[in-house]
């Protein structure tokens, strides 16, 4: 349980109509009402009329309810689900280019191997590595790699689905 006032990350999945400007509307709403977006991932769903936006927000627990209600007021928002970490499958992708001269290359490769990551590009001095998995796994991977000078790094932002057999908490207020 989070105590009131304590900051917490929440994953919200928003199904929206696949129309121009919808992402801007959602992002605008967060900015205007003073909510912080931690990460955001968006792509069309298997039904081409809709896209899914996975947003990780940093909030106290009370305003989350307000965020959801305000999001529902957007005409193009069709459905919102909150996905608690213990009831969902969360994945994220990380790409990093790391300094790996001959002296330390073996150590970097070993870390990639332990995490079951992939080498996606190689040069004489650097490696570009990729890893997908749970966000906390990526955090650990990133921390270990940072010992070897990361020259570039990009994470995809979190995406999530409810665990099979569990119903995501529907937050549609009416």
């Amino acid at each position: 349980m989070t105590r009131p006032g304590e900051l917490e990350n929440h994953t919200i999945v928003v199904r929206v109509e696949n129309k121009a400007g919808v992402l801007a509307r959602v992002a605008d709403l967060f900015a205007r009402r003073g909510y912080n977006i931690f990460s955001l991932a968006v792509a069309p769903t298997n039904d081409e009329r809709f896209s899914k936006i996975t947003i990780v927000v940093t909030v106290e627990s009370t305003p989350l309810d307000q965020i959801v209600k305000q999001l529902f007021k957007l005409v193009n928002v069709v459905e919102i689900a909150q996905l608690p970490a213990d009831q969902s499958v969360e994945r994220e992708l990380l790409l990093a280019t790391v300094d790996a001269p001959a002296k330390t290359r073996g150590e970097v490769l070993e870390i990639v191997d332990i995490f079951e990551g992939k080498i996606v590009a190689v040069s004489g001095e650097q490696l570009t590595v990729s890893l997908d998995g749970r966000p906390d796994k990526l955090d650990d991977f990133e921390a270990l790699l940072s010992e070897y000078t990361i020259s570039d790094l990009q994470r995809s932002g979190r995406i999530a689905l409810p665990k099979i057999g569990r119903q995501a908490a529907r937050l549609r207020a009416v």
Binding site: E17, A20, K69, V75, V174
Partner: protein, 605 residues
């Protein structure tokens, strides 16, 4: 499906035809480059177009029309600066939940994004001040865009919707702008399905609190008017013997003359309305949103009350105050559901005896009525006196609009609103200059009713040019200009909270010459400088029906609006008129030896 025969139209014709299909009777607008092709078919349409003198006027006139009728107001302007000029009315309509459809021209699709002449990102700029907006990219999408706009603007919690129309899709010279027009019967909005019906559980929970309450207050807001719920609310109040306060947005929703009506709460509400909320044990918020101008310091607002919050917008529930019972629904349907169940439970006998509470409330009314000191013959006027005289000499169905500031508060306090939809003002956004264009909108809707715009001298100078619109379009509104030579409300705050240091608030009584200005715009104009002339001049103004009238009432400079709750303060710290004994619970009473200005100035530090 529709059984209409398709007709071959271009986008511009289709837009006007769609508005006709929606039953639009008047458009308030201003033409320009990008919207030109849509103005051509207006010549052949039965829809009246009112040519305003500034785009802001078009928006406020549409709002005035919507406030008065409950039907969506329609305004139409061109791209770029016209679109930015109408942002203020959109924001105003958004905050006050006014149904409005705004059509803006846009540069041709191919030019969008190139910083073309009179191009701006209209949908981007207006996103946060509209309920919804859309950029239409194909002529054949215009009918559905209009259908959706009217549907969204008028259902659920009403609000403004903007349609941005690139020039090429309405251009009669563009072959691609032609299509077979059929107006759609239905909309397909998978993410939008507002339902005004309350849940049974929430109604039952509300009934439980209603039955137990000993000191209930109905806190009626603008949502009651939007839901056409005035009659149902009054029935509920009467059945339960429940005192009612009507917010600035709901004046007239329950008649001021009714014994249960306590008038307006809030920063400049009367003592009884404010204090009844502070002492109640059950607050029934009906279509109201706990605005900071009503609550003052939220933590000290209605401290002993349980709250039933009735509102159609789920996001209003718990936004400011967490209610004990949340009833999401349309105010009229909620009241009717409550009444139906109450009837079964024996009507009035389902409630506790509220007689002691009613007596307590009456005691406050006797001790703290609204008061002001009249001015003598030969002196300048008191604004309250002007409002009272106006009130007493106008027909009961007169529509009153106002700008924003002291004159607005005096009008709300001293007019007796006995009918819903007779008071039109800018509550949420607080838009100076609202009254004249809003009055034009209301008068265009009801040509046979008297419409008075109560205005201040600051507000008048912001939108006075719309009196030319009123003259030319033969929309004979009347303006009561309360000229106190100051931005009065700002002056009041500087007196009370900034040590009488008056910074940039002096406007002067005679610059401009309001009578000459009004006459130059085709109005009949009068100036009143003596209280003895007020009634006779109003009578003359009321006798004129063929032209707009402006009556300049020269008011004293230093009159302040009381009661007053200092911004951010507790409602218990209400300051009543200096001629009255300050209430014991107010910090204003603690040092009677200080002057009022010192006392309130001290508090602000």
């Amino acid at each position: 499906m529709s059984d209409q025969e398709p007709i071959r139209l271009n986008g511009g014709q289709a837009l006007i035809k769609s508005l006709e299909m929606e039953g639009v009777e008047v458009i308030f607008g201003y033409p320009g480059g990008a919207i030109l092709p849509v103005y051509d078919p207006i010549i052949d349409s039965k829809i009246r177009h009112v040519l305003v003198r500034h785009e802001q006027g078009a928006g406020h006139a549409a709002e005035g029309y919507a406030h008065a009728t409950g039907r969506p107001g329609v305004c139409m302007v061109t791209s770029g600066p016209a679109a930015t000029n109408i942002v203020t009315p959109l924001a105003d309509a958004y905050l006050d939940s006014v149904p409005m459809v705004c059509i803006t021209g846009q540069v041709a699709l191919a030019a969008i994004g190139t910083d073309a002449f009179q191009e701006c990102d209209t949908t981007g700029i207006t996103r946060s001040v509209t309920k919804h907006n859309m950029l239409v990219t194909r002529a054949e999408d215009i009918p559905m865009a209009v259908k959706e706009a009217f549907h969204i603007a008028t259902t659920g919690r009403p609000g403004p919707v903007l349609i941005d129309i690139p020039k090429n899709i309405v251009d009669a010279n563009n072959p691609d702008a032609y299509f077979d027009f059929v107006y759609p019967d239905t909309v397909d909005l998978p993410g939008y399905s507002p339902d005004g019906r309350p849940s049974d559980d929430s109604i039952d929970a509300a009934l439980e609190l209603l039955a137990a309450a000993e000191r209930p207050v109905l806190y009626v807001g603008g949502g009651v008017l939007k839901a056409r719920a005035a009659e149902a609310v009054l029935r509920l109040a009467e059945m339960g013997d429940i005192p009612v306060v009507t917010t600035l947005m709901a004046r007239g929703a329950v008649p001021d003359d009714h014994e249960l009506c306590l008038g307006m709460p809030g920063m400049h509400g009367n003592y009884t309305a404010v204090t009844a909320i502070q002492r109640c044990d059950l607050l029934i918020a009906m279509g109201s949103r706990f605005d900071d101008r009503v609550t003052g310091k939220v933590g000290a607002f209605a401290p002993d009350a349980k709250v039933i919050h009735v509102d159609i917008d789920p996001a209003e529930h718990g936004k400011v105050r967490i209610p004990e019972v949340s009833v999401v629904g349309d105010c009229r349907l909620v009241c009717e559901a409550l009444l139906a169940k109450l009837e079964v439970k024996g009507g009035a006998s389902a409630f506790a005896d509220h007689t002691p509470w009613r007596q307590q409330v009456s005691g406050w009314q006797e001790k703290y009525p609204l008061v002001y000191q009249s001015s003598e013959s030969g002196e300048l006027l008191k604004p309250q006196h002007v409002i009272e005289s106006l009130r007493d000499s106008c027909p009961p169905d007169t529509i009153v609009t106002s700008g924003v500031g002291q004159h607005q508060m005096f009008a709300s306090q001293y007019w007796t609103f006995n009918h819903p939809y007779t008071w039109i003002n800018s509550g949420g956004l607080g838009t100076m200059g609202f009254s004249i264009p809003a009055a034009i909108g209301a008068k265009a809707a009801y040509p046979d009713r008297m419409v008075w715009a109560v205005d201040g001298d600051g507000c008048f100078q912001m939108t006075a040019q719309e009196l030319i619109t009123a003259s030319v379009e033969k929309i004979p509104i009347k303006v009561a200009l309360l000229n106190n030579a100051y931005l009065g409300m700002v002056r009041q705050w500087q007196e009370l909270f900034y040590d009488n240091r008056y910074s940039e608030v002096y406007l002067s009584h005679d610059m401009p010459d309001y009578v000459k200005w009004a006459e130059s715009m085709g109005c009949v104009a009068f100036r009143v400088e003596d209280p003895d002339e007020i009634a006779a001049t109003i009578a003359k103004a009321n006798a004129i029906n063929d032209r707009p009238v402006v009556v300049e009432f020269r008011c004293v400079e230093e009159e302040n609006v009381f009661p007053m709750v200092p911004a951010g303060g507790s409602n218990d710290d209400i300051i009543v008129d200096p001629s009255q004994e300050q209430p014991a619970h107010s910090t204003a009473a603690q040092d009677a030896s200080m002057t009022d200005a010192q006392r309130t100035g001290e508090k602000a530090k």
